[in-house]
């Protein structure tokens, strides 16, 4: 408990935050794999957003793609070959990545914002409101997530905006629980009680005390949310409910690639699979490293 209080004190006191942050940064920077993960994610993100514009390949005009040889192995013209529709695979990895990553980051962001707000309000208000809000979460959590996604998509369609909205607005339940646990814990801490008893506004308490202390959890959870959003989008892609053609995402690419796997067209599956899996691994690893950095008690050992 002592270390937690130290952490809390360090954050709530405006004079002392720098050494703590520096220490955490140092721990994080000391983790070579985490740095490598960061570099990889940044590299792929930049590539996905820049390459399709700097070196455009035809990825949307099917009429033109019809005159491109389909399912061709890698060659000088197409470094990773062409897929079964006649699109350049290397270009398509970046093109699809743009959608996967945009969707993952945006949906992850919505998830964490909504989840944090919900969890904070629930945990901080407590009492009947908390109970009601948590029962609602229970109800959401008792429905298999994939079932829910499929039902929502059949009802609301699957334009890119809807997909972001659906994944973003349904992925926050677990997050809300975690943040609410934090808020609950911190609310009951002495200093929070003290500031309420001293007449501080509740919102002030949330802003000044609850939120900063939950930040470590929020950042970690946010990282995992992004990875999960990307993964769920790929599952939807497999079920044929991903981004609409001729646009694509990594999940949809993997799905159409695996259909060709028994034909031996490895270039339609494995490059995108490697890029995709490494992105998810890297994001998860960054999350883990962040958690380690925030977890003071482990540092001390």
């Amino acid at each position: 408990m002592t270390s937690t209080t130290a952490e809390v004190a360090a954050l709530s006191d405006d004079d002392l935050p720098v050494p703590m942050w520096r220490q955490r940064l140092k721990i994080f920077m000391g983790n070579k794999l985490a740095i490598a993960s960061c570099v990889y994610v940044i590299f792929i993100t930049l590539a996905c957003f820049l390459v399709p514009h700097l070196h455009p390949t035809n990825q949307t005009n099917q009429a033109i793609a019809f005159s491109t040889p389909q399912s061709q192995p890698p060659s000088g013209a197409h470094w990773l070959g062409t897929d079964s529709s006649g699109f350049d695979v290397l270009g398509r990895i970046f093109f699809g990545g743009e959608y996967s990553l945009t969707l993952g980051f945006l949906a992850g962001f919505i998830t964490i914002v909504v989840g944090t707000l919900y969890g904070m309000i629930s945990g901080f208000l407590g009492g009947v409101v908390d109970t009601a809000m948590m029962r609602l979460i229970d109800a959401f959590l008792s429905i298999p997530y994939l079932f829910l996604l499929i039902s929502l998509i059949t009802v609301f369609g699957r334009s890119t905006v809807f997909l972001i909205g659906i994944i973003g607005l349904t992925g926050w339940w677990g997050n809300a629980r975690i943040i609410r646990g934090d808020a609950l814990l911190i609310r009951n801490l002495d200093y929070a009680n003290a500031s309420t008893s001293m007449g501080a506004n509740k919102w002030h308490v949330i802003r000044r005390h609850v939120f900063p202390n939950s930040i470590s959890n929020i950042v970690t959870v946010a990282t995992f949310s992004v990875a999960d959003a990307i993964l769920f989008l790929s599952a939807l892609g497999f079920l044929g409910l991903g981004i609409q053609s001729p646009e694509t995402d990594w999940g949809t690419m993997l799905q159409s690639g695996t259909e060709q796997i028994q034909n031996g067209f490895w270039w339609e599956v494995f490059p995108v699979a490697v890029v995709f899996i490494l992105v998810v691994v890297a994001i998860n690893y960054i999350g883990d490293a962040l958690r380690d950095a925030f977890e003071v008690r482990l540092i001390e050992r």
Binding site: M1, S151, S234
Partner: protein
């Protein structure tokens, strides 16, 4: 203890009602409202007359509240979930048909998961930051990041065709005990589902044990000179059991969700495949029925987990009373 269980039961019932109302209302938001299934079933023969006849037959012309009342009434008093729009079966018999099959798949993989993941997590925690830990963590990361369908497809391609070792599809007979007639056919699907869940659970186990190991009492035990194996099993494991029980209770929906993909790839006619097929053909009663059923399973699972925890640790009861 009794009043605690009672209170949790009431809470679960309220949650169930919320789930029913939510899922029941969802179809009203379809672009074509609750008539969408009529178009899906009738296809090109969706003449106004046919659609109307169909809607009347299925009670869709009644008002929202009448339908909701009837649904809840039938569900709670008669456990009648209505009749599928697409298949000529009652939803109850669809559930009776497919639930055992999915439970076989999910349960056997759950057992394997627990058998593998818990010792693995503890082992990793005790060998933190060794090569073994890194290797296991790395594998877990890879598996966690691997889309379920990709793993299944690669497994089929590898062990079904390149090195044909195992059958690629479980028997299609109705009986759930088909697993005994052809255990080999279950190796790939159960194996894939297990691998997918081992990744998450072993990571969770490792984290939990690490967490427990830095608690003061474990440190005290260590300081008192307890052997590290004894500390690990007597203290760390027993105290990590609580979170594990909770997470297993919570993982029921995830298990059904994961089974969905595995069932789909391996052509295993279970609840997951039924759900997706029902959803894409607007077979509303089936989707509703299965969702409600899985919710009930989950709520029961959570309830049992909580009761078990309450038995273990009286403090929880007070916490849960909130």
């Amino acid at each position: 203890m009794f009043s605690y269980i009672l209170r949790r039961l009431v809470q679960s019932f309220v949650v169930l009602l919320i789930v029913i109302v939510m899922t029941f209302s969802l179809p009203y938001f379809q672009p074509h409202g609750i008539l969408a299934p009529a178009f899906a079933v009738l296809g090109a023969r969706s003449t106004p007359l046919n659609v109307h006849v169909w809607a009347v037959q299925h009670g869709l012309t009644q008002s929202y509240f009448v339908r909701l009342y009837k649904y809840i009434d039938q569900l709670l008093l008669h456990f009648n979930l209505g009749h599928s729009y697409k298949q000529s079966l009652s939803v109850r018999s669809i559930i009776a048909l497919y639930v055992p099959r999915t439970i076989w798949l999910a349960l056997s993989s759950l057992i394997f998961t627990v058998i593998i993941a818990i010792p693995l997590g503890i082992f990793q925690a005790s060998r933190r930051n060794t090569v073994v830990d890194y290797a296991a963590t790395g594998t877990a990361f890879l598996l966690y990041a691997m889309p379920a369908f990709l793993l299944c497809m690669l497994a089929i391609d590898a062990f079904g065709f390149h090195w044909p070792r195992f059958p690629i599809s479980p028997p299609s007979g109705v009986a759930p005990w088909a697993i005994f007639t052809d255990p080999k056919a279950f190796i790939l699907p159960v194996g894939c589902l297990t691998l997918l869940s081992v990744a998450g659970l072993s990571r969770f186990m490792r984290g939990t044990v690490l967490e427990v190991m830095v608690q003061d009492y474990v440190r005290t035990a260590r300081a008192k000179g307890c052997g590290s194996r004894r500390v690990l099993w007597r203290h760390a494991f027993r105290n990590a059991l609580g979170p594990i029980v909770t997470i297993l209770g919570l993982s029921i929906p995830a298990l059904f969700g994961g089974a969905l993909i595995v069932e789909d790839v391996f052509n295993y006619a279970g609840l997951g495949v039924q759900t997706i097929n029902a959803a894409i053909t607007f077979d509303v009663p089936t989707v509703l029925g299965i969702t409600v059923l899985v919710s009930i399973f989950t709520l029961l699972g959570n309830l049992m987990a909580d009761v078990a925890l309450g038995l273990i640790d009286p403090r929880i009861r007070i916490e849960g009373a909130r």
